[in-house]
Amino acid sequence: MIYLIDDNKYGQMSENYKLDFTKVLLTYKGFINWFQTISENDIGHIISDASCILIHDSLEEKEDKERLVAMAKKNNIPYCLFSNGFAATIFDGNSIKEIKKDRLYNNLLDFINYYKVEGTIDLKLLSLGQNYEIERASIIQDRLINGTLLMNKDNFNYEVAFPSGSLEYKDLRELVYFSDPSIDFSDFEDTYNSKDTTAQSIRSVIISMVKNVKRKYEE
């Protein structure tokens, strides 16, 4: 069960996020449970039943909120704290410790629907939305180009730039997969792990792969 703890009223949800919340709760009965407030007594029940807990960070019951988050962490239950006071999305392991409320509600239906169909929690859907591959590909693109490629721009060596097991290596592998799942990453490495590869040329490959991802969703 996904637990949503938000003190806003139905009216505000409909008005601000174009969500007919009564309908959402009926459609996803058994998959999402909504609490407007929480008390100490609710915490035990929520923790014993939750697959994921979504909590409004500005909840008036501040102490109960903090206890619930602490219990979620202790029990390895993914949680997500949302507020319109947060401009950025900040992850904390397998949880989201800050996300803008508008963003959460924008992606909420995709997130619940995936949980209903697949039975698993995917916070990528909550943070990046249905087209999360595009968002993720763009994030990886900037991270690699502004990071390892820029650092190794003048004296590029594939194995220095993408050491096996590093974050850069994982990013590149993920991007290759998004771009074309049929490509075997070892084949990709065979092609580009050569002395002819430059930072500039691998940058062009990355940009081209991101374009592929975007094109895939346009189609």
Binding site: Q12, E98, S127, N146, L150
Partner: protein, 560 residues
């Protein structure tokens, strides 16, 4: 080290290391207040450079383009002064059109609009060398204010919006009162954005004037947001614009609706400033159907029930005329439209709004005597009701007096011109005539009696020493006692009025006579002239109602 360039980057990023220049670390600051504090605390470092480099995706998992968001803060943070004008090189592989489209499609902040404005450059980190060498000039301040900022589109998505609007209103009022609030301006991007549009405003009221109200002033503010600048600003306005510096000013505060409903000391205040919305739930006005449902309206009714003379000025964020009219019908004595960042009208509107507010406070304080008028009226009416109930006075006489008092009070409460005050006085004066008619009878053409209390004595006014005294032998002009002679006889012979009390009655009668017959012969002493002029102010009305209160209080004792 390249000292003229600064990189703002995530703690884990190494662009500055590659470029061999200084950096400011971004540590996942996500709240406006944190970003504001972080940037202003680095003002000195930022002020020393010529260019700023910021990755568009400042965070490591950044789908929100926090680099652009920080860029907006730089352009909109007044405290950063010249830093706001620096060229900013934003780094990404995305096109600005792509970023904007993404933001539009995903309901994100439209921070990408900044990329379309002067002074912002979007480039790949691989092109940085070229731009680092290129001379880039600062944008001019006028360009920032007139071109860059108006091209942006920053929406208010923060909750609760009510708080922000309240803060805005307080800062706006303070600005026009020429006062700098001690509390800090909100650091929200939206507030800064809206505030930037008021940068070039010339505020006509910013100079200090001296208050002319020559009495002490005890005011009360009822507002759940009283501490966010409102009480501070109101104190300043009362002290520096309304009340004479030699007189005392106090402003008490109630912040909770329940406390306001139960408060027992409203009568002690000369003016009450009352916010229309005292609960957070009222933020969404569409949940409230009628003006009667507002918490402020409920408190207004409670106060006016205690004493209609207590002056109440409503603070409302609504400019709906029909709501304001209804509040005035319910007894509010004025209103002030709290300005909101949602609708910035014009400097002219703000000035007029402020000027009207000052006039309203001044008018309310001048109406200070109304409170006592209502206290005395309520006392008289209550005595009469008891006397009628106990069959001590004639019912029709008692009811008539009550009705005239009520009518006169309505006129005096609404009085705006000299003639309005005089009209109220004349209607109230009818009560003296009713008393005379009720207690004086004519036994024969030369013999006037006070009902069951013997013959009517004669009182005269001595112009020389401004006194009254009974005279003998009795000789009424044309054998007809005047209004003063009748009321003086009744109050002196039956109710035990002192000569001073009777003197007040004389001036009360003369005031009315000289208004009705201004051309009557006879010279008037300065005292008489001064007393007669009071018919055109609350002072005359108050004197008359005090005399009536004394008459009925003494009558109640006599008939007990």
């Amino acid at each position: 080290m390249k000292n003229n360039i600064l990189v703002i980057e995530h703690a884990s990023s190494s662009i500055s290391a590659k470029l061999k220049c200084d950096r400011i670390e971004y540590n996942n600051q996500s709240k406006d207040e944190d970003i504001h504090r972080w940037l202003t605390s680095n003002k000195e470092i930022l002020s020393a450079v010529e260019k700023i480099i910021i990755p568009v995706r400042l965070g490591t998992e950044d789908a929100e383009y926090m680099g652009l968001y920080v860029g907006l803060h730089i352009r909109l943070t007044k405290e950063l002064e010249k830093v706001r004008l620096l060229p900013i090189l934003f780094i990404t592989e995305d096109l600005k059109e792509e970023i904007l489209t993404n933001q539009i499609n995903n309901q994100k902040e439209k921070s990408a609009l900044l990329l379309f404005t002067k002074g912002s450059y979007l480039l790949s980190s691989f092109s940085l060398d070229e731009y680092i060498l290129k001379p880039l000039s600062n944008i001019e301040e006028t360009i920032l204010l007139e071109k860059v900022i108006p091209s942006l589109n920053i929406e208010n998505t923060k909750d609760p919006g009510h708080q922000l609007a309240n803060d805005w209103g307080a800062f706006r009022l303070a600005k026009f009162a020429g006062y700098t609030l001690k509390i800090e301006k909100p650091a929200s991007l939206y507030f800064k954005y809206k505030d930037a549009f008021t940068n070039n405003e010339i505020v006509p009221n910013a100079n200090n004037t001296i208050g002319l109200f020559n009495e002490s002033c005890k005011a009360l503010l009822i507002d759940d947001n009283a501490t966010s600048g409102w009480s501070e600003t109101l104190k300043h306005i009362l002290r520096s614009k309304i009340v004479n510096p030699g007189k005392s000013v106090s402003l008490d505060v109630i912040t909770l609706f329940d406390d306001a409903l139960k408060y027992a000391d409203y009568i002690n205040y000369d003016v009450v400033f009352l916010d229309l919305r005292l609960l957070k739930e009222e933020d969404k006005s569409n949940q409230i159907n009628s003006i009667d449902d507002f918490t402020g309206t409920k408190v207004l009714k409670v106060i006016k029930e205690i004493n209609p003379g207590i002056q109440i000025i409503i603070f409302t964020a609504s400019n709906k005329v029909w709501n304001i009219e209804k509040l005035l019908e319910l007894g509010a004595n004025g209103y002030y439209i709290k300005e909101s960042p949602e609708y910035i009208l014009s400097t002219r509107f703000s000035k007029d709004n402020y000027d009207e507010f000052i006039k309203t406070i001044q008018t309310c304080l001048l109406r200070k005597p109304l409170k006592q008028i209502y206290i005395l009226s309520q006392n008289i009416k209550s005595i009469i009701t008891t006397l009628i109930k106990n069959k001590k006075i004639d019912k029709s006489f008692g009811k008539s007096v009550q009705q005239y008092i009520e009518l006169a009070n309505k006129i005096i409460d609404a009085a705006r011109t000299e003639n309005d005050y005089a009209m109220g006085y004349l209607v109230l004066f009818k009560c003296i005539e009713l008393i005379n008619d009720n207690y004086i009878t004519e036994d024969s053409p030369t013999n006037w009696r006070i009902t069951s209390d013997g013959p009517l004595k004669q009182f005269r006014y001595n112009k020389g020493n401004n006194t009254t005294a009974s005279v003998t032998p009795i000789s009424f002009t044309n054998n007809l006692p005047s209004t003063f002679e009748k009321i003086a006889g009744i109050t002196s012979q039956v109710l035990g009025f002192t000569n001073v009390d009777v003197l007040d009655l004389y001036h009360n009668v003369q005031r009315r006579n000289k208004f009705i017959h201004p051309d009557e012969s006879g010279t008037l002493t300065p005292i008489q002239l001064s007393e007669n002029k009071m018919i055109f102010t609350y002072e005359g009305y108050t004197k008359l109602i005090k005399s009536l209160d004394l008459i009925f209080s003494k009558l109640e004792i006599k008939l007990r």
